[in-house]
């Protein structure tokens, strides 16, 4: 494929992401006396600590690509996804550009647990910017796709009664119901049974066919191999490798087994 025909959807240029964490004090520092001393002497709280999670990452993602993000725990994968979604700011000197509004889909994405699954579908769809008419047409499809009704009428029960797999499946089904220019999936495919994983992989492929770009963070090498042809390997916030999934995976496996 010639470079001119490829349309970029996400460009990261020298992206640094730093977390500033408040309140990370040890028990000794957190006593009333020491808090008071800090206030009186006006010393800056030692509680603000910086974590440099992503260190100068560069890449360009193109339309129609599915990109896997791999790396050991704490390597900055989820942080990078959040930055692409515009939820975390990139430090000055770098930038991330994206087409449209990328949406982040993670297993932590909490909807309202006291509401029925069906109501959550409506709420989630409206929150993604659908019109009420579009939502009406989609609700049944989404519930059908999530498969939560396979064991009886669960869609009318509150979400707190769902198993963790069912909740994750419903969240995935909601987010995947809309065409996204850029869809960011954080470990979502790892939950759910084999049957659902197969269906969701098919949906990810459909989303790509609808000319979006998909980023997938997963520790399951199989699901990355199955869905992504390109893989980016992050290690301690730095980009270790970026290329065809097979090549990068081979390198990553030798690194992990060391």
């Amino acid at each position: 494929m010639a470079d001119e025909e490829r349309i970029p959807t996400v460009i990261a240029e020298n992206a640094h992401i730093i977390y500033r964490i408040h309140g990370s004090v040890s028990a000794a520092q957190n006593s009333p006396v020491s808090s008071f001393r800090r206030l009186v002497t006006r010393t800056k709280s030692a509680a603000v600590r910086e974590v440099h999670a992503v260190k100068g990452v560069n890449f360009i993602a193109y339309k129609g690509e599915a990109i896997g993000l791999i790396g050991t725990n704490g390597s900055g994968k989820s942080t990078l996804l959040r930055a692409i979604a515009g939820l975390l700011p990139v430090e000055a000197g770098g930038a991330i550009y994206a087409a449209g509004q990328p949406s982040l889909l993670g297993v932590n994405a909490a909807l309202m647990n006291d509401l029925s699954g069906e109501r959550n579908v409506v709420l989630g769809c409206l929150a993604m910017g659908m019109t009420p008419a579009e939502v009406k047409g989609q609700v049944d499809d989404i519930i059908e796709f999530s498969g939560i009704n396979e064991r009886g009428d669960f869609s009318s029960l509150p979400m707190r009664t769902y198993s963790s797999g069912m909740g994750a499946r419903l969240r995935f089904a909601i987010a995947a119901a809309k065409k996204h220019d850029v869809l960011l999936i954080d470990e979502a495919l790892a939950t759910g049974d084999a049957k659902f994983r197969k269906r969701s992989e098919q949906r990810v492929r459909d989303l790509r066919a609808e000319a979006g770009t998909v980023f997938l963070v997963s520790h399951s090498e199989q699901s990355i191999r199955d869905t992504c042809e390109r893989t980016i390997w992050l290690e301690s916030g730095e980009l270790r490798a970026d290329g065809p999934t097979e090549d990068v995976m081979k390198e990553y496996e030798t690194y992990v087994k060391k």
Partner: protein
Amino acid sequence: MAQTTVVESYTGPSAKELARKYGLGAAGRLPSLLEYTRQLWAYRHFIWEFAGAKVSAALGNTRLGMVWQVLTPLFNAGVYYVIFGVLLNTKGGVHNFIPYLCTGVFIFGYTQSVVQAGIQAISGNLGLIRALHFPRASLPLSITLVEARNMIASIAVLMGIVLLTGEPINLQWLLLVPALLLQTIFNAGFAMLVGRLGSKLHDLRQLIPFIMRVWMYGSAVLYPVTRFTEHLHGWKLNLVLANPMLVYIELMRHALMENVKLAASPTLLWTEAVIWAVVMGIGGYAYFWRGEKGYGRG
């Protein structure tokens, strides 16, 4: 080889030029106020649904469900009736003290519950904020809508109390509609203000109960407003009269009750009510909008 792609991407135009060429936006860019308002308008259905969802989630576990929307203000009024009407028999020179008291309690309670819920508008919905992209002002606005719905039930109860205690129905009652509307705008702005403050300053949540209690004593809720107007003069009186809560409470008493002694002339009160609604409504909205991109950080 794997690493080559990074190098390859820099043989072409710079990232900025590429982004402009293909119409990519910088992630985390703040939309203009007008653009933001347009987005918010497109999300009106979400705001409505979210408010409904919050009410059902809160009352879904109870047996009586929505009946609580009417029962809560009834109990509230009952408690105040027993304490001030029966036990203390407070009159304070007001000829019909029970509706006078209840109006103050209900109107103040409206703003109070908006503030208490609004301070958690962001911090209580981080999961939703981190998962889905929507104008964040939808959250404090939904909260205001929830309380506005509760307020409608409260107003129905209040009307019953006012009638039962012998106040006549007249055309002046229609004034309660604009008064409530202005207070709702004020509350929406207030919810956005404390929503942003609460997302940064977690300590504020501990302070809110005390702030609201002091504010209640300064708003002539539990005793007649004449205690202020008869004993204070000059700037102190002006300060008390500038209190938005006092203004909204007085306007409601003016609308529902005959022969009630107001803190100031109705014209002055209405002017103040409009100014407060505009200032807080626009100010709170603009302040909230400025922080839009930081809310996901928590």
